[in-house]
Symmetry: C2
Subunit: 246 residues, 2 copies
C-alpha cells in the first residue's frame, strides 16, 4: 500500500514515547494513562497524551478537559489541562456519535495526530491505544520509530491469554515492552480484608509470557472511579493512597 | 455493495432471537449471555448461542465447550454443552491468534454463521455481539429480519453515554429493544455492607434514554467470575444466590 510513503513522526523533541495497550476493553487502560500522566507531571516532567482509542475515546472526559485544540493552517495545537497537552478524537466528534471509519481513513487520521500536532519539547508522550491489536495500532507503529509499550491487564488468567497477541504486535512493530500493570487487583473491604473479586495471578502470568516485569498492582478502589468520572484523575489529588501506586 | 443479495437467516424454526450488545468491552456482556443461556435452559427452553464477538470471542471458554462443531458439506453442526448449541469464531482460530479481518471478510463470516448453521428448532437464539456498533453488528442486522436487543452496561454514568449509539443502531437495524441489564452494580462486603465501587444510576439512565426497562441489576460477585473462568456459568450451579438474578 502507499503507507510506506506516509510521513514519520519527528520525535527529535520528545524524550520518551510510551504506548499504553490492553488486550480487551474495560480493564482500565485509559484510567492508567490519565493517572500516569499526572504522576509524571507531579514528578516535574513535561507530558503530552494522544488518545488514539478512536472508537472508545475517553481521555477528554477523564482529564476534565474544557478547552479545545486549535488548528492553524495544517498544525494542530493540543488542548492543555494542568500543563498536560492532550489531543483526542473526542475533540472532533460528539461523545454520543458512533465513529465508523474504515482502515485507510483511520490510518490517515492517526498519522495527522502524530505528524501535524505541535508538541514542542516533551519529556513523555503517552499514546492511549485502542484495545486489542487492530489497524490503528499498526498505523502508529509505522509512523513512530521508537516507542515503549506498557500493557494493562486485570487479574483474571483469561485476560492474560491475550498476551501472545500483544507480544506479537510488539515484535512486529519494534515496540520495546516496558512492563505490565495489573489493575483491579484487590478490593480492600471496610473490615480491612482483601477481596480478590477478579482473581489473581493474571498480571504476573502476562509479564512472564512477555518476558518483562510486573511493574505494579493497582487496587479496585471507588475513589479511582469517582476521580475518573469527575475528570480529575486520582493522582492529581496527591494525598490519595492509590495515587502512591501510580 | 452486493450485500443486498446476501442470504437471509431462515428464522422459521427459531421462536426468539436476542442480540446482546454493549457500548464498551469488559462490562460483562459475554457473562450475561452465557448465564442467560443457562437460565433459559433451566426453565425448559431449547437454546442456541452465536458468539459473534469476532475479535474478542470468549463464549467457548466461558461455557467450557470441549467438543468442536462439525462441518458436513456446506452445513455447520454447532457444538453442544449441556444441551445448549454453540457456534463461535473461537472454534476456528487459536485463542492467542489475533484475528485481523477487514469489512467484507467479516460480513461473509457472519452471514455463514447465520445461514449455514443447522440449529433445527430453537426457542431462543442468543447472539453475543462485539462491543460497540461496528460493521459485524450491521451485517447481522441485515441478515436477521426480526431480533430483540438486550443492552448490558455498568453503573458508571459515563458508560451510559454510549446509549445513543446503541439506540441509533437499534433504530437503523430494526431491532426491538428488550431492555437494559446493569452488571457489577454493587459488591456485598463480608460485613454485609453494599459497596458501590462503579457508582450507581448508569443502568436506569440508559434505560430512560433508550425508552425501555432496566430489567435487573447483577452484583459484582467473585463466584460469577470464578464460574466464568472454570467454564461453568454460575446459573448452571443453580443454588447460587447470583444465579437467581439471571
Ligand atoms: N482501579 C480501579 N478502581 C476502580 N475503578 C476503576 C479502576 N480502574 C478503572 N476503573 C473504572 O473502570 C471503568 C473502565 O476503565 P477505563 O479506564 O475506561 O478502561 P479501558 O480504557 O480499559 O476501557 C471506568 O469507569 C473507570 O473509572
Ligand atoms: N457480575 C460480575 N461479578 C464478577 N465478575 C464479573 C461479573 N461480570 C463479569 N465479570 C468478569 O469480568 C470479566 C469481563 O466479563 P466479560 O463477560 O468477558 O465482559 P465483556 O463480554 O463485556 O467483554 C470476566 O472475567 C468476568 O468473569
Amino acid at each position: 500500500t502507499g503507507q510506506a510513503q506516509s510521513p514519520l513522526f519527528d520525535d527529535a523533541k520528545v524524550r520518551h514515547i510510551i504506548a499504553v495497550a490492553s488486550g480487551k476493553g474495560g480493564v482500565g487502560k485509559s484510567t492508567v494513562t490519565a493517572n500516569l500522566a499526572y504522576a509524571l507531571k507531579n514528578a516535574g516532567h513535561s507530558v503530552g497524551i494522544i488518545d488514539a482509542d478512536i472508537y472508545g475515546f475517553s481521555i477528554p472526559r477523564m482529564m476534565g478537559v474544557r478547552t479545545l485544540p486549535t488548528v492553524i493552517d495544517e498544525t494542530i495545537i493540543p488542548a492543555i489541562k494542568d500543563g498536560i497537552k492532550i489531543i483526542s478524537m473526542g475533540f472532533f466528534v460528539e461523545e454520543d456519535q458512533a465513529v465508523i471509519w474504515r482502515g485507510p481513513l483511520l490510518h490517515k487520521a492517526i498519522v495527522q495526530f502524530l505528524t501535524q500536532t505541535f508538541w514542542d519539547k516533551l519529556d513523555y508522550l503517552l499514546i492511549d491505544l485502542p484495545p486489542g491489536t487492530g489497524d490503528v495500532t499498526l498505523s502508529i507503529s509505522q509512523t513512530v520509530k521508537e516507542s515503549q509499550l506498557l500493557v494493562v491487564t486485570t487479574p483474571q488468567p483469561a485476560a492474560s491469554n491475550v498476551a501472545q497477541r500483544v507480544g506479537e504486535l510488539a515484535r512486529k512493530a519494534n515496540f520495546r515492552i516496558l512492563g505490565v500493570v495489573e489493575n483491579m487487583s484487590y478490593f480492600i473491604a471496610p473490615d480491612g480484608s482483601y477481596q480478590y473479586i477478579f482473581g489473581s495471578g493474571g498480571g504476573q502470568e502476562l509479564a512472564d509470557k512477555l518476558g518483562c516485569q510486573l511493574l505494579c498492582q493497582i487496587p479496585l478502589d471507588t475513589s479511582i472511579r469517582e476521580a475518573g468520572d469527575l475528570g480529575n484523575p486520582v493522582t492529581s489529588l496527591k494525598a490519595n493512597q492509590s495515587a502512591k501506586v501510580f
